[in-house]
Subunit: 115 residues, 2 copies
């Protein structure tokens, strides 16, 4: 993920547990990630799924209006319906305003906090 702007910006925290099997999930997830990245106000996204099946995806957006517009996107709506039918046993979605951010990168010298 590229560096994000200085806060404030918004995060959508999506926590999910998959149903067994793929059912077209991997293809659609890749499509949706690519489509999201083309939307106005999209800043980036990070995703991980552990061996226990719990997945976390956090996408970052400039504003709540940008999140709402992506929510209304026709292809995204279809993917969401399919997700509820075929892919997810459970999910929670949280919209949060990022107020502070701090990054650290390992170097041989002293820590380099940002910003």
């Amino acid at each position: 993920m590229n560096a994000l702007p200085t806060p404030p910006y918004y995060a959508v925290i999506f926590t999910s547990r998959r149903t067994p099997g793929d059912h077209g999930y991997a293809d659609m997830a890749a499509q949706m990630a690519a489509l999201a990245a083309q939307q106005p106000g999209y800043l980036g996204a990070e995703s991980a799924r552990g061996d226990d099946g719990l997945g976390l995806t956090v996408s970052y957006w400039r504003s709540e209006a940008d999140i709402a517009a992506w929510r209304r996107h026709a292809e995204h709506q279809i993917a969401r319906d399919t997700g509820r039918r075929d892919w997810y046993a459970h999910y929670t979605l949280r919209v949060a305003k990022v107020e502070r951010a701090y990054s650290w990168q390992h170097t041989d010298g002293p820590a380099d906090p940002q910003p």
Copy 2:
């Protein structure tokens, strides 16, 4: 994770990339998770690390003051120093105010959105 209260509450989004090898990480991570869960204002946490090494941990807190108190906790400070020395190639920490939350659970009947 138990159900969280109705928003608003706070999320700490911790994105990390590990260095190779364990170096005591798994034991300390379990200890820190248990210790965090005992802190005032702790609401819950979710964590996943994918095969590509990217890890996401989101912990939820009642207030920014509770997050600040956990940040100052002596054992947590020691773990953080060790993390920077031994465990992490890179990390980003974001503090965000959760404004809305929505959960969905697969059932044979109609969807049951909450709240």
